[in-house]
Amino acid sequence: MSTKIKEKDHIPSPAPESSVVSGFETNNSSDLQHRQVHDDDVGLGKTPKAPPNAVRKASTVNVVSGVNKSASRYRKLHPNSSPQVIREDVNKLTKIPKRLGTIINLQDDNEENGGVEGLMSQIADTSSWCLSAGIPYLSIYECTGVLTGEYLPFLQKEMIHTLANYFGTDAIPNFLLKIAHTNESLVYCEDAPVDLQVVLLSRVDGKPTIVELTRTMYELAKSNELKVSDITISLVDEELVELVGPEPDLLIQFAPNLDLQDYPPWQIRLSEIYWEPENIDVSYLVFIRALQKFSRCKMNVGK
């Protein structure tokens, strides 16, 4: 297992902007502007109408190369990209979480798996593992909230591509993408039941949402529509589940240190938290080890 991972690390990542970067290094004076233009092009959703270049490139590549070719290349990159392998791993476990939460950090654009594009492929990978393992709910916490509504179609495309690699083009499971804060959602297949719900969370869904709820309750009480005695834990819980989503059973942080980064405080009450000290990647091994640890842990609330 470990050698495979090492191999994976050494595979050079395709760097579409490399030409621009080298140009910048050779002659400094004129290229400052050049670089700025480039930054704006990839700039994370500053211009809503034009989709980022990187995303457009990725989607055209998929069409050209075709599924078969890309699938074999994909297998090389991801040795575990087969639902059977994952299911075998999961079948050994005594219990699996119903809801999985993950904290993924947005990396710099010029790093491997960096930028929005990298984030989207990481989300697609994690979703595929969840679908293979039979976990119906996945929440992704990325604190800057870079994935806004206009990225949903691109994320969907990325996910379809990845899922085709896992399940084959004619058996892509149905999934729903949702941004908790704005309540925008996109479902892959309208009439079929949803196999996986992917909810995107950001810092706004944490403390600011509790502030917002408090404000609303304050206003309601002012107009005598709500009594102070009506505010109970179950009411607050109901509202926050409605606004943000339920608490995950297992929370995986794909980073070497535990750093909750203002994760929604209401949604972390009893979640089992998992991270690995040496890990900086969104990798299947961390995912499956987290599930293994979860299946061993015992929950007894207060007893």
């Binding site: 950090n105 947005l106 990396q107 710099d108 604190c143 800057t144 909230g145 810092r203 706004v204 944490g206 403390k207 600011p208 509790i210 502030v211 917002e212 709820l213 408090t214 404000r215 309750m217 304050y218 009480a221 002012k222 709500l226 102070v228 505010i231 109970t232 834990i233 607050v236 819980d237 980073a255 070497p256 240190n257 535990l258 750093d259 909750l260 980064q261 203002d262 994760y263 929604p264 405080p265 209401w266 972390i268 009450r269 009893l270 979640s271 089992e272 938290i273 998992y274 900086i280 640890k293 842990c297 609330v301 207060g302 007893k303």
Partner: protein
């Protein structure tokens, strides 16, 4: 383990001086201002060591006293301990009774003799939904709070019976009730994250810098959730059961915390992420 050493004369004195020395060493680096402790594993420890449950709980208390001593010696301003969570009332009635009795005894002891409180000038604060406790325990707690309220050196927050969700609900109630009190500044009353922080039970304490949970459980169990998701707070999970958790272990955690802060500029160690601006 090395119990025979403790029979030597002057052992306590030596131990005391070592603690002071170590505390002074830690003082040279950055020190967390506010430390939270989830003291988990008393019962599992008792089971493992084949001693009575009640014994496990009182060993847990002794362990707490030792850890607190080290913390205050190292310059920590405030410690919050999770003594009893609201869900603990679901335990068997006789165990709840023991715990209440233990709390009563120990707090009476603290108020009467004031070992810990007097030596370190510690102010005791009770956080939580005190109304749920039996009347006599409430009285003792209030008494100890009252007796130590003039102490200024450090603060001990005893969370009994506490849960974070209860705290948040409670503060929403208070904020909503705010309008009924004074009508004048009604329009000026603006609610944001700092308003909420002001209404938390921990409003008088510095922000939480370090949270330690023992017994190898990787959960927060409804303790100081609002406070500990803060990017500046480091969360440390320890495998040892609480009664087996020694000042030496705590010392390692404190040094590690100080090192991370000094070296990486972040209490959790090297953290690579983009900074976010406040969106609200």
């Amino acid at each position: 383990m090395l119990e025979w050493i403790s029979r030597f004369p002057g052992y306590d004195h030596v131990l005391g001086s070592i603690k002071t020395i170590v505390g002074n060493i830690i003082l040279t680096g950055p020190v967390p201002r506010h430390v939270g402790l989830i003291m988990d594993g008393n019962r599992r420890y008792a089971k493992k060591e084949h001693i009575e449950l009640r014994e496990g709980h009182s060993l847990g208390f002794e362990s707490m006293a030792k850890i607190l001593e080290l913390l205050y010696e190292s310059g920590v301003e405030c410690a919050s301990v999770y003594a009893f969570l609201i869900e603990n009332f679901k335990r068997l009635s006789y165990e709840v009774e023991w715990l209440m009795q233990l709390a009563k005894d120990k707090f009476t002891q603290i108020s009467n003799q004031g070992e810990l409180a007097e030596e370190y000038g510690i102010k005791i604060k009770i956080l939580g939904n005190v109304k749920l406790l039996p009347k006599d325990v409430q009285d003792v707690l209030h008494q100890s709070e009252e007796m130590t309220k003039h102490n200024t050196r450090a603060v001990l927050n005893v969370c009994i019976p506490y849960t974070s969700r209860d705290e948040i609900t409670h503060l929403i109630q208070q904020i909503v009730a705010h309008e009924n009190e004074d009508d004048e500044d009604e329009d000026d009353f603006f609610i944001d994250e700092s308003t909420i922080s002001n209404y938390l039970y921990t409003n008088e304490s510095p922000p939480l810098d370090l949270l330690v949970r023992t017994s190898g459980t990787f959960r927060l169990s409804d303790f100081l959730l609002w406070q500990c998701v803060d990017p500046h707070c480091a969360i440390v999970f320890v495998d040892k059961m609480w009664p087996a958790f020694t000042p030496f272990d705590m010392c390692k955690i404190l040094i590690n915390w100080g090192f991370n802060n000094y070296w990486y500029g972040h209490s959790s160690g090297f953290v690579r992420r983009k900074q976010v601006k406040d969106t609200v």
